[in-house]
């Protein structure tokens, strides 16, 4: 009997529950907000400024109180008619070069732009030189052993090693 009562109670509770998603849907109607030009400019600029109290995060991404105020300041300055360059300079003059997520290509910062290119060229050169070296001994042994019919099945140590690994 008590079980039946409990069951009816559950059902009674369940009835409004089944209708609740519909109510929730209407309550959670997605509101689309048109992004204004100012929003976009503020977002782009904020994404280029490093949050000073974070590590490798822009003020756009960071939720720290300081980043929040900086975002607001960026927006205010843009709304007041200041250009992106003016605002970048404002932060640069107060926080130094580290406020810019993309370092200015000058002085020691140039290393960041030049070194990867040098490393890439050096890497490609090393690969090419090494590949030639790997190919040369094989070609040389093939050339010397082919006229030598007495020992046609001279075991190639490289081949033996390769087969050893892939057995």
């Amino acid at each position: 009997m008590s079980l039946l009562l409990a069951l009816t109670l559950i059902l009674a509770q369940a009835t409004p529950l089944t209708s609740s998603p519909q109510a929730g849907d209407s309550a959670n109607t997605v509101i689309t907000v048109q992004e204004t030009d100012l929003d976009r400019r503020a977002r782009d600029l904020s994404a280029r400024l490093r949050c000073p109290v974070c590590q490798s995060q822009s003020i756009e991404e960071s939720n720290s109180p300081l980043a929040r105020e900086m975002r607001a300041l960026v927006r205010e300055k843009l709304a007041a008619g200041e250009s992106e360059e003016d605002i970048e300079r404002y932060f640069f003059e107060r926080y130094g070069g580290s406020i810019l997520l993309d370092p200015r290509p000058e002085g020691f910062n140039l290393a960041v732009y030049i070194l990867p290119a040098i490393a890439l060229i050096a890497g490609i050169t090393i690969v090419i030189v090494s590949a030639r070296k790997w190919l040369r001994p094989a070609a040389a042994t093939a050339a010397t052993s082919s006229p030598d019919t007495a020992a046609p099945d001279e075991p190639d140590p490289d081949l033996a090693a390769w087969e050893e690994i892939n057995r």
Partner: protein
């Protein structure tokens, strides 16, 4: 033998002098070295190239990784101090930095939630005792904190000894390139930032800076 080949990192740029030494040792035994005998001169050249690549990298990383990435070196010293006109806590009056020309100003950003500020405050009190009568102005700027908390905190140190300025939404703090508290700026008689102190200031470490500025003003007159 097979291990010696497959593990061979010899052609990589990160070979070391140890690798070069092993080359010579393994020279007779390794079939790889038997087919392409390496002269000692070749090894030397290789280890020099390796050193030439590794040494700059080690120096670069040694320099870069030993720096604290949380420390931002302020570009402000030597430049005019950003101006402000801020309300004094508990009053209706406003202090404009411009009005303090001719004085050395100690501008201290702090908060009641800031731990190191507890060490610093007695030091600032000591500094005030030493230099206020010689015309040095002391100003506190409250950073991201409520007035009530600030007043209660100051009461614990015998009450306010110098004006505490309110900086709504941290606009002046950002103007000064602040990224934490405490930070202290020493501004000279011409309104130029003479020194920025990250973290706690000590009266003794302020002494040479303030004395130099005070004696300079004596020479100006």
């Amino acid at each position: 033998m097979t291990d010696d080949r497959s593990m061979d990192p010899m052609n990589g740029p990160d070979r070391t002098d140890n690798d070069a030494a092993r080359d010579i040792d393994a020279g007779a035994a390794s079939p790889h070295n038997a087919t392409a005998p390496r002269t000692p001169g070749m090894s030397w050249r290789r280890s020099l190239i390796g050193l030439g690549i590794a040494l700059p990298l080690v120096l670069l990383f040694g320099w870069g990784l030993s720096r604290d990435p949380f420390v931002i070196i302020s570009p402000l010293p030597g430049r005019p101090a950003p101006g402000f006109a801020l309300q004094v806590m508990g009053t209706d009056s406003v202090i404009d930095l411009q009005s303090l020309r001719g004085h050395v100003v100690v501008l201290n950003f702090w908060a009641s939630w800031c731990g190191p500020c507890r060490i610093e405050h007695p030091q600032l009190q000591e500094a005030r005792r030493r230099w206020e009568h010689r015309g040095v102005k002391f100003l506190g700027v409250l950073y991201d904190d409520s007035e009530n908390n600030a007043r209660r905190w100051l009461a614990g140190y015998g009450g306010e000894e110098w004006p505490t300025l309110l900086d709504p939404r941290q606009r002046s703090a950002i103007d000064y390139g602040l990224y934490g508290v405490p930070e202290t700026f020493i501004i000279d008689q011409h309104g130029v930032v003479a020194h920025k102190q990250l973290s706690v200031v000590y009266a003794d470490s302020l002494a040479p800076i303030i004395e130099a500025l005070l004696s300079r003003s004596g020479a100006d007159e």
